[in-house]
């Protein structure tokens, strides 16, 4: 059941913590549906703050109202899918089931399409035609379309005595209004619903408990009891341990969270050969010396050779081509990156590179590295090569 709850994004019975927004939006849409009043609204909130959940809840509630059910048309658009107005228009036509009007005639031009749709929307007036809900996911991406034609027209319809529409934009950008052109902006009603998780940690915890605890009608009553108790325990521990929300979790959750938050870069470092590690250390020293200035292979090689000359007991003296190979491998792993894009002109060895790693990452990796030669470790720790 839990898996079902988490994996299939089932709607919660009622939205948590955003009751006021829910009420507001529901009221707004209800007016569009029932009174035929055109509206436009933006739902703004960071990713994962439940914008879509809110909207879906509202729509569900809206459709439960009896006379609304058969009365509204919904058009869902996503800025990631409908990347330009042409596609968006086609999608709108499809979702409004207007193709049966045009038959299977392939839509001629973009212009024709637009004119067609506008005509369609203009036909209706406030009282006679069914309200249409335009739901624009990733609203900010629509603002990047050329001339913002689609937005202008949708909002213009919502501002004039044409078919009633409700334009609902979902976005995570707080500055989305600045993206709109002044004409478009003027036509937008400037209603914004902000979804910001203003929950305190306590509320957050309660929410988690609620989500995790099993419904009372679970088959195995005993298991149900145990489970809920353990959940409570976990949350207690959670409460004690963590102040920083996203990261630390106790016992069972710890492992999962570690997987979640694991540093991929560090993992890559673990898989490197000693030689490559040495190169990275050399690079680290270089960037220490020159304070983050880029370096090239020759410099790294020199540094590496200096190291070898000083304490070359454990590491075999590699040939230059071998070192070069290792260097290229690092480049492939994107642990180092060339500063400028043009790779063709300059000889490989003199290409300027930058290390993409943090000191701590390197150190951490070195600590964990199995059978790392001690002198290498020492070299890494030493202040200057």
């Amino acid at each position: 059941i839990l898996r079902q709850r988490f994996c299939h994004q089932r709607l919660p019975e009622k939205p948590m913590g955003i009751e006021s927004q829910h009420k507001h939006l529901l009221e707004l849409l209800r007016r569009t549906a029932v009174h035929g009043e055109s509206n436009s609204v933006l739902i703004v909130g960071p990713r994962g703050s439940g914008k879509t959940m809110l909207l879906k809840c509202v729509l569900r509630d809206l459709l439960e109202v009896k006379d609304v059910n058969k009365n509204v048309l919904q058009v869902h658009l996503n800025g990631l899918l409908q990347t330009d107005d042409r596609i968006a228009l086609k999608e709108i036509t499809r979702q409004l089931n207007l193709e049966n009007v045009v038959g299977d005639k392939v839509f001629g031009s973009f212009a024709e399409n637009l004119a067609f749709l506008l005509e369609a929307l203009k036909k209706g007036d406030r009282s006679s035609s069914r309200p249409v809900l335009f739901i624009l996911d990733e609203f900010d991406l629509f603002a990047h379309h050329k001339n913002q034609t689609l937005l202008y027209n949708l909002l213009d319809v919502s501002q004039s005595a044409q078919a009633p529409v409700a334009v609902i934009g979902l976005t995570c950008r707080l500055d989305v209004l600045e993206l709109l052109e002044k004409r478009v902006k003027s036509r937008f009603s400037h209603r914004q619903i902000h979804l910001l998780s203003s929950l305190s940690f306590r509320q957050y915890l309660d929410n988690v408990i609620l989500q995790l605890s099993l419904p009372p009608d679970f088959a195995d009553a005993k298991f149900f009891e145990e489970w809920n108790d353990s959940i409570k325990n976990v949350s207690e521990v959670l409460h004690q341990v963590s102040v920083c929300k996203p990261s630390i979790k106790p016992t069972d959750l710890l492992e999962a969270s570690r997987v979640c938050v694991a540093d991929s870069k560090a993992n890559i470092l673990h898989g490197l050969s000693v030689l490559e590690l040495c190169l990275i250390i050399a690079m680290k020293h270089l960037s220490d010396i020159y304070e983050g200035e880029p370096f090239n292979f020759q410099m790294v090689h020199n540094e590496f050779k200096k190291f070898l000359q000083r304490k070359s007991q454990s590491i075999y003296n590699f040939d230059k081509p071998v070192v070069m190979k290792a260097f290229e491998h690092l480049q492939q792993l994107e642990l180092i990156k060339s500063v400028d894009g043009s790779t063709g002109k300059i000889h490989k060895e003199y290409q300027l590179m930058k290390l993409m790693l943090d000191h701590n990452q390197i150190m951490e990796a070195l600590q964990k590295y199995p059978q790392c030669p001690t002198d290498v470790k020492q070299w890494a720790l030493s202040a200057f090569g």
């Binding site: 213009d156 044409q162 910001l196």
Partner: protein
Amino acid sequence: MVRYFTRLRVRRVYKWDGTPSSFDRKLKTYFFDSLNISVEGQPGMTTVTPGQYVLIEGDNEDNPFVAKLLKFFGDESNQQKKALVQWFVRVCEVPHNKKKLLGRSPHPQEVFYYLGHTCDNEIDAESILNTVQVQYVPVDAPFPEPGIKDTLYVKLSWDTKTFKDLDPALMQDTPVPASTPPRLKPASPCSPPAAALVSLGSVGRKMPTPDPMVMRRAGSVSRTRGPVSASKAGNNEAESVHSAAKLSASKTLSTKRRGSSGVTPGVRKKLQLSIGDSPEKIMSRKDGLCELLDEEVDSEKALVTKLNSSPRSLHHGYSLSPVRSDHRPPNSLGGYPLKPTSIMLDRLSPTALGEQDFSRDMLLGMAPLILEDEVFEAGLPTGTAKTPKKRQATPRRKYFHEKATTPSRRKDSAMTAREPSLGVLAEEDSESSPMQLVVTSSRSKRKSAQLVASRIRKQLNLMGDAQELHSDDGDDDCFTPSKKDLHHSSEEDLEDEEVSKSEETAGKTTRGRLRRASTTPARTPRKPPSKKATPSTPRTPRTPRHATPSIPSRTLPARKPGNVLEEARARLHVSSVPESLPCREQEFQDIYNFVESKVMDGTGGCMYISGVPGTGKTATVHEVIRCLQHASDMDEIPTFRFVEINGMKMTDPHQAYVQILQKLTDQKATADHAAALLEKMFSNPAPKKETTVLLVDELDLLWTRKQNVMYNLFDWPTRRHARLVVLTIANTMDLPERIMINRVASRLGLTRMSFQPYSFKQLQQIITSRLNKVKAFEEDALQLVSRKVAALSGDARRCLDICRRATEICEHSAPQPSSTGLVGMSHVMEALDEMFSSSYITAIRCASVQEQLFLRAVLAEFRRLGLEEATFQQVFVQHRALCRVEGLQPLSVSEGLAVCQRLGACRLLLLEASRLDVLQRVRLNVSQDDVLYALKADRA
């Protein structure tokens, strides 16, 4: 649409036919009876006579003007060929805003009788393209099937303001001038309205002489015939392409011939189809046939008797009136003895009385249907069988309408009264020699008709046989005999015609013509239903070209606003149209004067209107246009057409041409073609032209690199014949200077107007006027809103939105006992906060611990660097340090990056592309003070 010959760009040669029929000494003009138009490269020659309907070259190639010729005249030197016409207006020539007066969707081939005075009804005869068929359709009758391509239908008259029911008499004959010779007098009593309209018609005419009048009358009598022959001669090739499949009423005969000669069995099939597939589409048509054939027999027989009687009587040389009176009795007689049922009578009467009103006939036709449904068990099949019959009646009626001089609506009394006049006409015909030509042409026609008739007869016989094969009783006889009889009648008819031909007397020919007219419909009805039935089935997949899409209408009516607040909200919605536009009186007056003067003078001009969004530019212009249209309705100024395009509502600047063209003439074209057409339209003089007012909204979007769209838009008004007024709207005041090149800007001219943002007083006035006595707002609250908005932008839309939001807030807080039900200061404040407050601070406050920490790290790093930019790596070092200070476990780089990305997605931070990883640069999107404030408040 049928492409007329303009497309082919052929040269036409116009020649007067015959000698001048009369000469007006005062005006030194010769009057001619007909005009020959021969098209180069084509053998045929079209003869146009007064009274015919012609297409006249206009600015719209696909839809030439339609007019009825009144007379031809030319000057002494024979250089100029002029013609007087009565205009008809096509649907697309009616201004858009007037179309709704029609109250229904216009038929594509509908034309309106033009009663206006603004158009010169004297035209150059050489602009005549071709003849066309115009049919009068009674107002309450439906249009015939749209399959007929070359025929136009007249229902209503149009006097530039309203649609009126067209008096059929107007259509039937040309207006009779006051100086009509006494022998034509009999015509007036039968069509009294015609007399009333006479004066109107005679206004345009300068010196009516009796002879042309007679000619005209004669022409009107032979109108049906004339066009047929003419169009046959001229249109032969076009027909072969277009009308092979379609049935055109004007070319019934030729088509029929073609169809019959081409596919003999095909026609038979069609006939069968017509019986089976008539509207109801009943499956068991065979059974039905058997059952209903009994009555059919009778009816058909009656019909036959009627038909037989009518030609015979005609043959005897009686005028039409006896014919009518003759074949009425036989009908009823034939009906009663054969099967003495009242139903029979009912059914017979509609079929027989071709001259009765169509609507009435429909009613009658329906009544028996119902009756029969009750009486007979196989009610539906009867319906099927009858529907073709009904149709059969309808076309005939139309023929009568055309042919008979008096409206067929009139009762028999009127008929009889009219007939003498017909007789007189016939006599006059015989006197007039030029008529001979028409006669001859019709004669050739008749020959073909004979052929057709014989062929049809054969087919029908065949069909009869076939039917006899698969049905048993004498029921079949009902069809076969009837058809045979029909053929007899037509045969007789043809014989008559032959006789008349041999006699060579014009009087006879006309009578023969009349008679033939009466019989042809009797024959044709067999066809029309069939042909109509067949195309209807395959045509279904084809979609209409101008599909009018619409959002499906809602199942439930929209609820009316309930309380005061809702009422106020409805009024405050931007979309609601206010009664007046306060605070824009000056601008309104300026624009009004500008447009009005241009419309009055018939000149062109441009105007540029600028202003920030939401200052009522478009609304004002619309208001102006509304007022002007009202004025033109009141006859204060000439009529004009209004076209609006919006730069935002098109995908490409060049689409402007397409949209303008479509709104002007309802035709679609590609951008280039549309531009060419418009160019032609605006640069060429046309006989009737109204001023066009073009509103170009969001002008700046019509900008192209070469600026040719703008150039054209501003160039057209300067043409002499354009009569175009262009009003352009854009946001920026200096648009002409900024983006237009010199030649465009200079053409735009200096007529500019800028709309200032509303001041708070104006905004307040706007809201109050919108609310219009609905008491929903406190005075202070209104003032607060308007002051706030005026200080910020002066955008009326914003102002209205805030008010609307405030009403909502008020409604939600209504349960509180303290509130008075009015929107108070607190509500407005809340709404304003919602709309104007920056969300960044709240967003920062609600961010997670690590996010806040990261922001602090960013700030610290900025302070350290003294720059407003830092790489992630640098910030991250700070972040770690902060973590340690705060006693939190430091994050790994990946986590740190994730935090950074989240902030970036909210646009609290501006980030470089994330592939730069650790090195991506970070900037703040909010001011540092804001962040500090938010974070501090958070801590506190």
